[in-house]
């Protein structure tokens, strides 16, 4: 079995830290764009221009889905330890 991942983790111990912060920054950016979309759509709708509401909704859903997909890459350093303890309990 390859020890590539273990060696990689030893070479860059702060990797998961950087990755987590990066994902949080992107999520905050996505949230900011969604807030802007919501206020812009609400304002234009109240002005009587309803044409923008559906595209704004579609864009907001796309942003949410991209944010949810990003969660898959959120590092979980304790996952391996949890799995090991669970497998020990079952044995």
């Amino acid at each position: 079995m390859s020890h590539f991942r273990e060696a990689q983790n030893q070479a860059h111990p702060g990797k998961t830290n950087t990755l987590t912060l990066g994902i949080i920054c992107v999520l905050i950016l996505i949230l900011t764009m969604q807030i802007w979309l919501l206020t812009a759509a609400l304002n234009t709708a109240l002005e009587g221009n309803e044409g923008i509401t559906w595209p704004a909704f579609a864009a907001s859903v796309l942003l949410f889905l991209s944010g949810a997909a990003l969660l898959r890459y959120l590092p979980d350093p304790l996952r391996r330890a949890r799995r090991q303890s669970r497998s020990k309990q079952t044995l």
Partner: protein, 171 residues
């Protein structure tokens, strides 16, 4: 030598095995998930705006609605009214140049009641000092994001009628 036995856990520790500090701790993983949850809320909010505009369009009335007689409102005066079938408050304004205007009396910021100032020809919202131009309803100053919604005014035979603006009337 025999080792001393470990002290047994107290009943409280058995019943509540999670420490308060541990329970209140919010990890960055949980924070990221929370951000994603709020993002989903924003998407739902955008959907609500779109659906509301489609299924529950704002009230529009057909034809003309009699407000009052011209003699009822002096120059610089105002006359509040509502259209039959609606609870939206409107305000009829007799401007200093003799023309008439009708605006919704709710500020576009937070729906406070606005009032006309005949001295300077402005409509003021007293809540946050927003000002609108009495001639066209445009925002002059303050936090209101949009002009005041207006109605068309027609003076005929000494009586004042209002109708929906031509470009906003439903076909």
């Amino acid at each position: 030598m025999k080792a001393a036995p470990l002290p047994e856990k107290s009943a409280a520790d058995v019943d509540f095995p999670i420490e308060r500090v541990e329970a209140e701790h919010v990890s960055r993983r949980e924070f990221a998930k929370f951000l994603c949850l709020v993002s989903g809320g924003m998407a739902v909010g955008s959907g609500w705006v779109a659906v509301k505009e489609k299924l529950f369009p704002p009230f529009r009335f057909q034809g003309e609605f009699l407000v009052c007689k011209t003699s009822d409102v002096p120059v610089g005066g105002t006359h509040p009214f509502t259209v039959a079938g609606s609870k939206i408050p409107f305000i009829l304004i007799h401007l200093n140049d003799g023309s008439w205007r009708a605006y919704e009396q709710k500020c576009t910021h937070l729906s406070c009641a606005v009032y006309y100032q005949p001295d300077n020809g402005k409509i003021e919202c007293p809540c946050h000092h927003g000002y609108f131009d009495a001639h066209n309803g445009n925002v002059l100053q303050g936090p209101p994001p949009r002009p005041l919604p207006h109605l068309d005014v027609v003076v005929r035979g000494g009586e004042i009628y209002v109708s929906e603006p031509a470009h906003e009337t439903l076909s």
